[in-house]
C-alpha cells in the first residue's frame, strides 16, 4: 500500500558531536554513484558536495537536511521543472537545474545549497564560461543507493534516524492512550 506521508532523516542534537562523518559519507556514496570513485577518500577528484549540513551554533550541533515537504516550496518555486516528487521524495534533476537560487530562497530550512556539479570524475563547466556548473544539492534519501541513507548508517553516535511520520504519530497515539488508561476519572 502507498504510504501517505514521505519519510525524512532527522538529527538529534543530544547525541551529535559534530564529527562530520555524515557529511563525508553522504558525499562519498553519491560520488561513487556519479563519479565512479573508489572506496577510499584519496581517490576523490571532484569538489566535496554533501547533501546535509552539519550546523554548529552556541546551543547545539546537528546535521540539517531536507524534510521532503509534502507541499514543497522548492518544488513550487522551480520554474525549470528540475524538482519533482518521486515516491514521496523531493528530488532534483541536476541536468535541468540552472542554479537560479529560487529553491534555495524558498526552502525555510536552508536544506538546499548550490554546489559544483561533477560527472564521471570531472567538474562540469558552464557552456559559455569556465566556471563550474552548479546545482541544487539536497538530500535525496540516498535514492537508488543500497542500504538506504548513508548518514544514518555511519553516524557513530546514532544521532540520525529515518522518520516515518505516520508510524511515529500512531505510536504516540498508542502511548497517549496507554497513559489515559491509567487515569480513572476521564470521560
Amino acid at each position: 500500500m502507498r504510504k501517505e506521508l514521505g519519510s525524512f532523516v532527522l538529527g538529534d542534537s543530544t547525541k551529535c558531536t559534530g564529527c562530520k562523518a555524515c557529511e563525508v559519507a553522504c558525499f562519498t556514496v553519491h560520488s561513487r554513484q556519479q563519479n565512479q570513485t573508489g572506496k577510499t577518500v584519496g581517490t576523490v577528484t571532484v569538489p566535496v558536495t554533501p547533501r546535509l549540513f552539519l550546523t554548529k551554533f552556541e546551543k547545539g550541533c546537528m546535521p540539517v537536511q531536507c524534510k521532503h515537504c509534502e507541499d514543497a516550496p522548492c518544488l513550487n518555486a522551480c520554474t525549470k521543472g528540475a524538482i519533482s516528487r518521486t515516491d514521496h521524495q523531493v528530488i532534483v534533476d541536476p541536468e535541468k537545474c540552472i542554479g537560479c537560487k529560487d529553491c534555495m530562497q524558498a526552502c525555510p530550512f536552508g536544506a538546499i545549497a548550490l554546489l559544483p556539479y561533477a560527472k564521471n570524475g570531472r567538474v562540469v563547466a558552464q557552456p559559455m564560461s569556465p566556471e563550474p556548473k552548479v546545482f541544487a544539492c539536497k538530500c535525496d534519501l540516498c535514492q537508488g543507493i543500497e542500504g538506504g541513507p548513508a548518514c544514518v548508517r555511519v553516524c557513530p553516535h546514532e544521532a540520525l534516524r529515518i522518520v516515518d511520520p505516520e508510524a511515529e504519530r500512531e505510536e504516540k497515539n498508542i502511548r497517549a492512550a496507554e497513559a489515559l488508561l491509567l487515569t480513572k476519572n476521564w470521560r
Binding site: 562530520k20 557529511e23 562519498t28 577528484t45 571532484v46 552556541e58 559544483p116 570524475g121 544521532a159
Partner: protein
C-alpha cells in the same frame, strides 16, 4: 589512563577537564555520549562551549590559565564539607595533612576572581563529583599544554584520591593522549629519561640490564627533550652539549612547535637534518636528507591506545615506490653506523622488547591476536593473564609502600599576560576534520574540501563587532613573536577576550604566535596561553590573493603539483 576507555560509559560521574573529545577523539566522545544516555552526570571544565559542555550537567567556563586555582578550590570544598573518603585516605595514601595546608586558602570565594567561575558553581560541581560513585576524571591538552601542567595533573589525582576513586572499574583519572600512538612512543622509551617500559636511564640496574642485552655501554644521563632542541642548537655555549644533527620522524616541528620563527632558525643553523615521513611537510624544507616511510595500512606492528592497550596493526596494501617501514629504516641506519640490527620482522623486535620490560612481558603477539587488545601491566606469558583494564586494584599503588602520595601546590598564572599592545589571549586547539599537523589529512581532498587553508580564529561575537569583523573575513593575528593571516569565525561558544586557533594550517599557522614557555617537569610548551592582537585587513581582495600566493609558494617549494581535473 588508570581506566580502560570502554569503562567511561559506565561511570556515575565524569569530570571532563580541559578535554574536548568531540574534536580530538570522536570515538572516545562516543563513550561520553553513551554514558550520558545511561545516566552519567557530566561536569565539564572548559573555557569554550564544547560539545561535552553542551550535554553536561554543570559547565564551569573558567578563564584560561586558572586550572590549578579551580582544582584546588574543588578539593577545598570536598575537604571543608566533609565529603572525603576517610577510610581510603587513611589506608592507601600519604601526605594528606600537608596537602590540606596548601588548599586551605583556596575557598571558592578565593578562586572566583581568578577562575571567573561563580563560587556557588564550584561548590555544586565539587559536591556532585564527590557524592557520585564511581566518578572518573578525563583530561586533555587543556591541562597539559600550560607552563603549570604537571601540578594540575597531580591536583586532579588528589581529587580522585580524597574521594576514594581509584582501584575499581569506571573510576580514576585518564589523560586522553594528544597524539597518535604517543602512549606507544612513551611505552617504547622514546622519552629522554627512560628505556622501554618506563625503566629509568639513571637507574644503574636498568642500565646494566639494557647494556647486557644490547652489548653496548649506555649513557647515564637524561637526554634532551624536543622542546629544548632549538636553544641547544642556537644558544648552547658548551660545545659538548650543542646539537649538530637532528633526526626527525613522524613529527613536523616547523609546524607543531611553539615560536616557529625560532624553530626555523634552529633548523636552518643545524648542521645536519634528517626527516623521515610519509609526505612532504614544512620541516622537510629544512632537511638535508629525506627518508620516505610507509603510512598506516602499508606497515604492521603494535600500537598502544591511550588506555595502555596494546593492539596489532596490520598491513592492508603493499607500499608502492622506493620506501620502507620505519623499523627497517632504523635497522639499516643502525647497521650502517656500525651496530648491526638484523631483525626479520616486527615480532622479533617485540619479543626482544617484552623480555626486557617486566610490565609488558606477558603481551605476546599470540595474545594480541586472540584477545584483540592487551592492556599493560601484563606480566605473565600464560594465556590466563589478559592484562590490566584498570590500575591500582584494591587501592594498591605502584610505589615502594603501595601508598599514593598527595601533592599540593600553589597556582601561578601563565607567563605572558594580556597587555595594552596585545590585549587578547590565544589558545591552540583541534578540529575534527584534520589530524595534528595535517601531514596526513591535509593530503586528503575530501577533508581539505571540508576545511582548508588558512583556517579560522574563533572569537566572541562581541569582540568581532568591536573590531568590525564579519564571518569568513581574513584577519591578521599577531603576538610578540610573529603573525599570521586567518579567517574570522564569530561564535558565542568562546568568551570575550579569548581567541582559539587550530595549529595545522600552513598559512594560518598559530604557532608563529605561541610562546616556548615550558612546564618544568614535562617540558610541554604553553600552547594554551599567550597574549595576542587581532587586526582588521581593509583590503580583503589583496589578502585573499596574498594567502593564495603564500599557499602556492609553499606547495611549489615542496614540489606539490595539483593533479589534473582536481579542483583543490
Amino acid at each position: 589512563m588508570s581506566m580502560g576507555i570502554p569503562e567511561i560509559e559506565d561511570s556515575g560521574c565524569l569530570l571532563c577537564f580541559g578535554y574536548n573529545g568531540a574534536d580530538s577523539h570522536p570515538i572516545v566522545a562516543r563513550r561520553i555520549v553513551r554514558g550520558k544516555q545511561k545516566g552519567m552526570k557530566i561536569i565539564c571544565v572548559d573555557p569554550r562551549v564544547t560539545e561535552t559542555a553542551r550535554i553536561s550537567d554543570i559547565h564551569l567556563q573558567l578563564k584560561g590559565g586558572s586550572n590549578l586555582a579551580l582544582v584546588n578550590a574543588i578539593a577545598n570544598v570536598i575537604w571543608s564539607e566533609g565529603l572525603t573518603d576517610d577510610a581510603f585516605i587513611r589506608e592507601h595514601t600519604k601526605g594528606y595533612d600537608e596537602f590540606i595546608e596548601v588548599i586551605k586558602e583556596y575557598t571558592p570565594e578565593y578562586a572566583e576572581p581568578i577562575t571567573h567561575v561563580p563560587a556557588e558553581e564550584i561548590r555544586r560541581a565539587a559536591r556532585l563529583y564527590a557524592t557520585t560513585k564511581p566518578a572518573m576524571i578525563l583530561y586533555g591538552m587543556g591541562v597539559c599544554q600550560f607552563s603549570q601542567a604537571v601540578d594540575v595533573v597531580k591536583g586532579l589525582a588528589n581529587l580522585a584520591l580524597m574521594t576514594g576513586n581509584f582501584g575499581g572499574p569506571a573510576m580514576g583519572i585518564g589523560p586522553v593522549r594528544g597524539q597518535n600512538n604517543v602512549q606507544g612512543a612513551c611505552d617504547m622509551g622514546a622519552l629522554p629519561n627512560s628505556y622501554p617500559g618506563y625503566q629509568n636511564v639513571t637507574d644503574p640496574k636498568s642500565r646494566e640490564k639494557f647494556e647486557k642485552a644490547w652489548g653496548v655501554s649506555l649513557p647515564d644521563k637524561v637526554g634532551c627533550p624536543i622542546t629544548h632542541v632549538p636553544r641547544r642548537i642556537l644558544h648552547e655555549k658548551d660545545e659538548s652539549k650543542r646539537i649538530h644533527a637532528y633526526y626527525i620522524f613522524g613529527e613536523d616541528p616547523a609546524q607543531s612547535d611553539p615560536d616557529l620563527a625560532e624553530v626555523r632558525e634552529a633548523l636552518d643553523k643545524c648542521d645536519f637534518v634528517v626527516m623521515q615521513d610519509i609526505y612532504m611537510n614544512k620541516t622537510g624544507l629544512y632537511a638535508d636528507v629525506i627518508l620516505p616511510a610507509t603510512g598506516w595500512g602499508e606497515n604492521e606492528g603494535v600500537y598502544t591506545c591511550a588506555d595502555r592497550g596494546f593492539q596489532r596493526i596490520r598491513k592492508l596494501v603493499e607500499p608502492e615506490g622506493d620506501l620502507k617501514p620505519d623499523w627497517q629504516i632504523i635497522a639499516e641506519i643502525s647497521t650502517a653506523m656500525g651496530y648491526p640490527m638484523e631483525y626479520k620482522n616486527t615480532e622479533e623486535i617485540w619479543n626482544e622488547l617484552i623480555d626486557l620490560c617486566p610490565s609488558f612481558q606477558g603481551a605476546t603477539y599470540e595474545k594480541m591476536e586472540k584477545y584483540g587488545c592487551v592492556q599493560w601491566p601484563c606480566r605473565d606469558k600464560s594465556m590466563e593473564d589478559k592484562g590490566t583494564p584498570y590500575l591500582h586494584k584494591d587501592g594498591k599503588f605502584a610505589t615502594a609502600d603501595q601508598k599514593a602520595l598527595f601533592y599540593g601546590t600553589q597556582w601561578h598564572p601563565p607567563l605572558e599576560k594580556e597587555n595594552e599592545q596585545y590585549p587578547m589571549t590565544l589558545s591552540t586547539v583541534r578540529e575534527v576534520g584534520h589530524y595534528s599537523v595535517r601531514t596526513m589529512t591535509g593530503n586528503c581532498r575530501t577533508l581539505r574540501n571540508l576545511e582548508d587553508e588558512p583556517g579560522w580564529v574563533q572569537m566572541n561575537t562581541e569582540d568581532c563587532r568591536r573590531l568590525g569583523l564579519k564571518k569568513g573575513e581574513l584577519v591578521k593575528i599577531l603576538s610578540k613573536r610573529g603573525y599570521c593571516i586567518t579567517r574570522c569565525l564569530p561564535t558565542d561558544r568562546v568568551t570575550p577576550g579569548a581567541t582559539y586557533m587550530t595549529y595545522q594550517w600552513w598559512i594560518g599557522a598559530c604557532n608563529e604566535l605561541t610562546i616556548a614557555e615550558l612546564d618544568p617537569v614535562s617540558n610541554t610548551p604553553e600552547y594554551k596561553y599567550c597574549a595576542c592582537r587581532v587586526e582588521k585587513i581593509e583590503d580583503q581582495e589583496w589578502a585573499e590573493r596574498h594567502v593564495q600566493e603564500l599557499y602556492e609558494d609553499i606547495r611549489a617549494q615542496m614540489g606539490i603539483h595539483t593533479g589534473k581535473g582536481a579542483k583543490a
